[in-house]
Symmetry: C2
Subunit: 241 residues, 2 copies
DNA sequence: ACGCCCCGATTTGTATACATTTCGGTGTAT
DNA sequence: ATACACCGAAATGTATACAAATCGGGGCGT
């Protein structure tokens, strides 16, 4: 009610709860008690229930056996699998887009975005801005999805991406600069261009393979970051292992 | 409350609502009014809301903009896409199973099941029992999923299969016998065996390709059934087009 | 020691009254 | 004719009292 956003109590409660979950307070398996949460969030049980329902739809909570909700547990391999699954679904989205043929204006928009991404990490000599890169990268992946003619595939992909650690920009390096990091950006960007090219050329299979391989970069970054225990990535907070 | 099952009012309400939706009463886009439903289902608004939440989790309802719920609309191409997506996810499940190596006892169980399926449609001279086949086919696809080591992939696959028209046995022929129908069963069963064999032999790519192609049979059956306007398939009821 | 039943505290489920928001129609002014 | 503001009906949002189910522990019998 203080700083959280949303027009109704239920939405605010959902927002607050979501924050607490992804920050790692309330680790996987934690049971959520309506009365306790209602007090903490300063609302009645009704909007709390509503909020928990919404988070269950998002996949952050599970319904417990005897009623009520439990924070969903994610292990390290769930994290790997979610990234893999995102790759598979993005691949399918691109393949279907390629097979059906993509609209020219959307492909053009992607072209401009690709140039902006180039600029963001200093491909043309400008100083790199990694926060900007992360945002543009996320935009790119959103645009890619919209190429896909299938509502069903799009919505399932959005669903998987809503998991905080499966989002395309989850493990992009943002702070320290290193040679390996810049190289991974160059590779990722080459894949971006190839993916758009493949869709434009109706090379469905190529587009699909590229998207899968592209997701592997997230996995690599994750593994690099996992070693960096000094500065744990916030997206890793809800991994219980 | 009369004949529907479930221990709580909310579960019964969810069951009743689900039935009404998949039967095609309340076509896609229909808005659900809490008070009206509460009267029809003889419960208060609270369990109705709870029921609608659950159906939204299943993907049968969507939250409307100004609050409330709307029956999700499915078009003919959504149906095609859902089957395609099931093929993609089953393919991924099998590929991961093949890459990780599947437990022998599970493969054995699949072997026995395959023989039962043979018997069900009269491969050994016995009279075909298509109801039985549909059930065993469904069991087979459930067992297949369980080979997959990834919880995430399994749960997303289960989610897609929960759509009534994306389930593996949705469009299996059950009533009239025809040469084409028996042939499709033979082909499907050959694919079943090949899928298990591929997983056992750790041929991930082959397993994936087979699962995708296998899903195409459902699509073929669907197209055959779509022509049969005299006896529309119940799974088609919630397609609005 | 083990299982079982019973009980009470805790927690969720339900109904309902009331608050708030939303939506559609109607009127007026431009 | 269009845009806008207003209003009232109808819908959802919220709080809360009460009902029912669940979980855990203690006692008892075997």
């Amino acid at each position: 009610m203080t700083e959280s956003r949303g027009s109704t109590h239920a939405k605010r409660a959902a927002y607050d709860l979501r924050q607490r979950i992804v920050k790692g307070e309330m680790p996987g398996g934690t049971r959520l008690y309506e009365v306790a949460l209602a007090e903490e969030l300063q609302v009645s049980r009704t909007p709390v229930r509503e909020a928990m329902s919404r988070l269950a739809e998002e996949g952050l909570l599970e319904r417990a056996k005897g009623g009520g909700f439990v924070v969903r547990s994610f292990t390290h391999s769930d994290l790997i699998d979610a990234i893999e699954l995102r790759g598979v679904l993005e691949g399918t989205a691109l393949r279907l887009a390629a097979e059906a043929g993509a609209a020219d204006d959307k492909l053009e928009a992607l072209g401009t975005l690709l140039c902006e991404i180039d600029a963001s990490f200093g491909a043309d000599g400008a100083p790199p801005n990694l926060e900007l890169y992360a945002g543009l990268n996320s935009d790119f992946h959103d645009l890619i999805v919209r190429l896909c003619p299938s509502t069903i595939v799009r919505s399932e992909l959005e669903r998987v991406k809503s998991l905080p650690f499966a989002s395309p920009s989850a493990f992009v390096f943002r702070n320290r600069e290193s040679k390996a990091m810049m190289e991974s950006l160059v590779i990722a960007q080459a894949q971006h261009r190839a993916m758009v090219e493949a869709v434009a050329g109706r090379e469905g299979s190529r587009a699909e393979a590229l998207a899968r391989e592209h997701a592997r970069i997230a996995r690599q970054n994750l593994e690099k970051k996992a070693l960096d225990t000094a500065e744990p990535d916030p997206a890793l907070a809800l991994i219980v292992d």
